[in-house]
């Protein structure tokens, strides 16, 4: 069965490279080794979303039983999204679990992930903290997601007020990454974020 997996990936790889649609939607795959079982995916943040302008990298691992089982995919670029873990990059998406079908391809996976960035499913969250913010304080969520896109994915929009708060918390002797997570997780409330960092 391993030979089906490798043969399929070789053909799929060509398909993604050639496809015009791929060019238009800005998705990419690159091989990480010549065994065709590890790849790196890249998707552009969809326009009119807080992720617009950012470039997100994905780690794709192909199981021996591919395409009868789904590929294992996670974000390596950090991202603020209800269905993606802000810590590990793990993704909650049905087609990567029980809704996978052997006729699906890497191209469909990448396009589905791009669609997920455009339309989150907060009722089936991977990251409960992000999902709660998405539902309760949508404005704060958008600013936070845009800030993360700017910092980690090269997005163009800076959120100066949020950056200020991070600098302030860093002034108390905390690490930048930890300060960002604490502030993001507590709706940018300085007091609660520092309390959390201290406990």
């Amino acid at each position: 069965m391993a030979n089906i997996a490798a043969a399929r990936i070789q053909r799929e790889f060509k398909e993604v490279v050639k496809s015009e649609e791929v060019e238009r939607c800005k998705i990419k795959v690159a091989l990480k080794n010549d065994m065709y079982n590890e790849l790196e995916g890249t998707i552009a943040g969809p326009p009119d979303t807080p992720y617009a302008g950012g470039t997100f990298k994905l780690e794709i691992k192909i199981p021996e039983t591919y395409p009868f089982n789904p590929p294992k995919v996670k974000f390596t670029t950090r991202i603020w999204h209800p269905n993606i873990s802000s810590v590990t990059g793990a993704i909650c998406l049905d087609i990567l679990k029980d809704q996978w079908a052997a006729a699906m391809t890497l191209r469909t996976v990448l396009l589905s992930l791009q669609a997920l960035l455009a339309a989150a499913e907060p009722d089936d969250p991977q990251d409960a903290v992000v999902a709660k913010q998405y539902k309760d304080c949508p404005e704060i969520f958008i600013k936070t997601a845009r800030h993360w896109t700017n910092i980690y994915a090269g997005g163009p929009h800076r959120e100066l007020d949020l950056e200020n708060k991070i600098t302030q918390v860093m002034g108390m002797g905390f690490d930048e990454g930890k300060a960002r997570v604490a502030l993001s997780s507590h709706n940018w409330d300085m007091e609660r974020a520092t309390e959390n960092l201290l406990s």
Partner: protein, 508 residues
């Protein structure tokens, strides 16, 4: 535990009087039997005397049973079930499949899928079949709403899974029309079977959830051992999907229990003796229901560390503070106390038994969150401790039973009565086990109960049962110096309490 000191003198005494008693009652009963059956006696004068006695003896016996055991309709735990072997269960399923086949004029593979999808509810399938056959098949994921049409006129196709080009007649599809090559179907089925999926295998196309029928799978599988694994696994799926059937959860036991009603009732496997709940398949849990016991067991697993700390196997004697294991007395100062609340046992007597009832802080709503959390933990630990205590006592009583058995053996060997004479001791130990088991499962029930009159009644009955179970335990442990009548009376009282509680609170 049981005082195994030399009490031969005492026991012999007790035994002779018991045997004497036995004879007395026997004659009294027979007299009454004879007078009851006077018609019978007159008409059958021809019969010899001893045969007459013989008939009377057995009639009398059945009467006894009627008095001692509750009638079927009275017993809240009564449940009718059969124990089936694998072959019987297989035959039963096949009969149901065939019945549906002939009724709906469909093939067995399709009938099996329909039954599995609809929880083996044949009547509902037939009803829906009559209303709209097409809709039934679409709703059951057997036929697509719209079939995929192959519009390509070439003799070759590219398999969407392996991307290889194959001849048109080497491509196969199920009812939805999505075509894949034979090798891909084969590999796909093998991987699904390896992952334990059989009856729910769907088409390989994106967004297509049409189920693949058994005959299609079996003809595509190239390896015979996979075909065997498929049929074994799908049989298991069918049993698990059938509301009237359940596998015995006992280790390595292949018995299948069949009951007409899917209720949370007690089932005992005839082969491995496992006792379990028919509805959920875990240890029998009356009076607690399936959902509550699951919540309780999850909670116990979560909070095990804290609980472990509390439920250590030892306690301090409340009088002399020496650390003791649960026996029945403090071995050091001989003070008798209640293991549960460490209060003086004398005060428990026949009086109202209070130590099974949790006394909630009445002012808790006004306390701080911290105090509330502490109170919640205290409440949980209170119930958990009692639950654990009974579970441990059940283990201890297992040892008592072994001791009783070996003592009986010894006595029979020494000609001190026959095996039958001592049988009542085993009955007492078995009944104690049964009562304590129910008592153990009253604690999760009480834990999740809302405060109010019903909980008060429950706790009252629980306390009554608790007291009688402890009395019985006491007497069983001292069986050799307890009068038989006294012990049997205690058995009756304890069982009545258990029945009363179940009748009032076992919701089925």
């Amino acid at each position: 535990m049981m005082p195994l000191v030399e009490q031969e003198q005492l026991t012999l005494f007790g035994e002779t009087s018991r045997l004497h008693n036995f004879k007395m009652t026997d004659t009294v009963d027979m007299k009454s039997q004879n007078s009851d059956d006077s018609d019978y006696d007159e008409s059958d004068n021809m019969d010899e005397d001893d045969e007459d006695d013989y008939c009377g003896y057995y009639d009398n016996d059945t009467d006894d049973l009627d008095i001692d055991k509750p009638k079927k309709s009275d017993d809240p735990e009564y449940f009718e079930f059969d124990l089936l072997h694998l072959e019987d269960a297989e035959r039963l399923l096949n009969e149901e499949v065939e019945a549906l086949c002939s009724k709906l004029k469909i093939d067995p593979s399709l009938a099996k899928m329909l039954l599995q999808v609809h929880g083996w509810n044949k009547e509902s399938i037939i009803e829906r079949h009559i209303i709209d056959h097409g809709k039934l098949l679409v709703d059951s994921k057997i036929k697509p709403a719209v079939k995929y049409k192959d519009t390509c006129f070439s003799n070759y196709r590219t398999c969407p899974v392996c991307y290889l080009t194959v001849q048109k007649d080497q491509m196969f599809s199920v009812s939805c029309g999505h075509q894949f090559c034979k090798e891909c179907w084969d590999s796909f089925f093998q991987i699904q079977i390896q992952q334990g999926i059989t009856t729910g295998i769907e088409c390989m196309e994106k967004d297509c959830n049409i189920l693949v029928p058994e005959d299609f799978i079996c003809s595509a599988l190239s390896k015979p051992d996979f075909r065997d694994r498929y049929s074994t696994r799908s049989f298991t799926d069918h049993i698990e999907g059938h509301p009237q059937l359940r596998f015995c959860p006992g280790p390595n036991c292949s018995v299948i229990v069949r009951a007409k009603e899917n209720k949370a009732k007690k089932v005992e496997c005839g082969q491995c003796k496992t006792i379990f709940c028919f509805k959920c398949g875990i240890d029998y849990h009356a009076p607690t229901d399936c959902g509550t016991i699951k919540k309780w067991l999850t909670k116990c697993a979560d909070d095990s560390e804290t609980a472990n700390y509390i439920s250590a196997n030892t306690k301090d004697c409340p009088k002399c503070h020496v650390c003791i294991e649960k026996t029945e007395q403090c071995t050091k100062c001989k003070h008798d106390f209640c293991w549960m609340c460490l209060g003086d046992w004398k005060a428990h007597g026949s009086e109202y038994y209070e130590c099974s009832r949790y006394k909630e802080n009445p002012n808790i709503a006004n306390e701080s969150a911290h105090a509330q959390a502490r109170e919640a933990l205290k409440k949980y630990l209170f119930y958990f401790e009692r639950w654990e205590n009974h579970s441990k006592s059940l283990e201890l009583e297992e040892q008592t039973l072994l001791k009783i058995t070996s003592r009986i053996q010894e006595k029979v060997m020494n000609n001190a009565g026959t095996w039958i004479d001592w049988q009542y001791l085993l009955d007492a130990a078995a009944l104690l086990r049964k009562c304590r088991y129910t008592l153990q499962y009253t604690y999760p029930y009480a834990y999740f109960m809302e405060k109010g009159a019903r909980k008060q009644l429950f706790e009252y009955q629980q306390a009554q049962l608790e007291a009688e179970v402890e009395n019985l335990s006491w007497k069983v442990e001292r069986a050799e110096i307890t009068d038989r009548g006294d012990l049997e009376n205690q058995m009756d009282v304890a069982e009545k309490r258990r029945q009363t509680l179940l009748k009032d609170f076992l919701e089925i």
